[in-house]
Symmetry: none
Subunit: 181 residues, 4 copies
DNA sequence: AATGAATGAGCGTTCATTCAT
DNA sequence: TATGAATGAACGCTCATTCAT
């Protein structure tokens, strides 16, 4: 594993456990097995480390999403199953997503918003053509998925997140009208 | 206005403007027109101040909710209109809700979860009897409303939040099945 | 002694012993008998503390200078005796003056230059009317005095600085022409 | 140009621009076109690099001084003209001299003092035999020259330093008595 | 000789909270 | 109750130096 990967792995654990503000760069370094200063050779600072983490997490998520949407239908079902399945298998990533995505630091929030944009676009692509305002529909889809992830995280991962997919997608399909996808 | 109310008002402004971590107790005191130490005569500390704010905000919200649900139907429509109308008229409260509700501090998060519980119960009451898993349905309703509030806050209040209510409730009604309420 | 005075006293010792860059705010606080944060209640930061020190040191110096010039003549002799006598009795102030007055930090240097200006003006007042370019003369007077202080500081205070005054002023008087003051 | 010379050249620029404390070894290496570690093959560390710079600067200065003193008289005039002319043509060297010669780091200061010794000896040789204490006279000569260089550096090189030589040496000659050289 | 990735000690400053008045 | 001066623990980041290659 490269040093950069070690640091990102460590950062995932530390940010998930302590949150952005509670996370200590020293602990990231320690858990990555590098010196404090080494982290700064790979990332400009705490914020860039966090944003990188988020960015790569979403990039990996999106990379798999395309396959999932291509190989299964209806697209909405595939999306729900993928979203819940992906995060349901990555508790720490889910925690980071839930806890930190809505952040009070304006620059950080702006960066995270930018990163999420491509996912929102995919969702809008999926709901386009349904009998629904595309933005409201997108917010419904994302909000519903996200709120279920939140509940799962709040429960400490106490149930199988992926098992919610059928009911979630059934309701969403019904919401968006019978024959849009 | 009592001193306690002054402090809570000031805290609303400060927390909304700067977020929980960015907020300074000194500024709360200053804006409330009291000395630094005085805040601690009314609230145990920063966290309790924030939680109190949140608690009272939700209590007021819930107080009006009952009337709204009683005076209009279907209940789901009333709920959506009320949620979006209430926060759409209280930008700072909406900011606080969105930005800070999912928080990394475990104790704080736990407290906020406890506070939200009664609202979740009302929503579950509204969706009970529908053809849907009650918890998933509740998460869909809240997640959808919440995500629309988030979008509104992100836009800086750039549109009329309440105007989304018809479309939001149309989709939610359809999701939950024709004849549940 | 007020807290502010304690801090300035401590700062004098610490800056003299370690220089600006070597000085530690923690040690200033410790020697002043206050907590780290207390220093920042009285001074905005390290630089302002240093500049304040310098400023007050020069203000006190200038306050006495007027009396000295008024009560003895020729003015040039009075000036030399006062300069060498004053710093000769204040080793730490002399160290700070010598070591730190020409500083590489541009903002700091600018501030120190501004502070010195009034003294330079007095010197120019003393040499005005002599058969000499007033600026060059001022630089000669100050440079000569200053270089003798430097030598004294370099020697660790190993001789009586004030005892140089007669020879210094004799040479300076001769330099500036017989009958200017 | 040898690597060592490249490094010294780069160091001159960097130290002059940023001062000793503001200078970064990395930038010296970068400007010299070598790797960070390479600097340490030629100089033990930052301090030795700075001292070497100073040492060679003064050595070159002194090498020319002998010729100047030999070829022109009176010696004092030659000295002044040479000092002001030399530094007036080497702004960066002048900056380094002014800003850093009186330094708070005790070891560094001691080293710089040792390096200056030969120049002081030459000056004392020039003023020996005058009607003046030789040390006080030397300090007057050096202090006057140095203070004029300081003023020139403070002005950002805004006038011709060498043009001050006639007035400076006129005053110094007068100070030291008519017939010493 | 040369490289440059890695090190890790070190520090100015902030701010929630306390407590003597 | 109210004050606000005082506290002091806590932390992100820098940078001179090292050393395996």
């Amino acid at each position: 594993m490269t040093r950069e990967a070690s640091i990102l792995n460590a950062a995932t654990r530390v940010f998930a456990a302590a949150g952005y503000h509670g996370a200590r760069m020293r602990q990231v370094a320690r858990e990555a097995g590098v010196a404090d200063g080494t982290v700064y050779l790979y990332f400009r600072g705490k914020r860039e480390l966090f944003v990188s983490l988020f960015e790569r997490g979403l990039a990996a998520f999106l990379a798999g999403l395309d396959d999932a949407l291509a190989s299964s239908s209806p697209a909405l079902d595939a999306l729900c199953a993928y979203h819940l399945g992906y995060l349901g298998a990555r508790y720490e990533l889910a925690v980071i997503t839930q806890v930190e995505m809505r952040h009070s630091d304006p620059e950080l929030r702006e960066a995270l918003g930018r990163i999420m944009r491509p996912y929102f676009d995919r969702i809008e692509g999926v709901v386009a053509g349904c009998d629904a305002d595309v933005k409201v529909a997108r917010r419904m889809v994302f909000g519903t998925l996200d709120e279920n992830v939140t509940a799962w995280v709040r429960s400490g991962g106490g149930f199988a997140l992926a098992s919610l997919a059928p009911e979630v997608s059934r309701l969403l399909r019904r919401a968006l009208g019978g024959d849009c996808r």
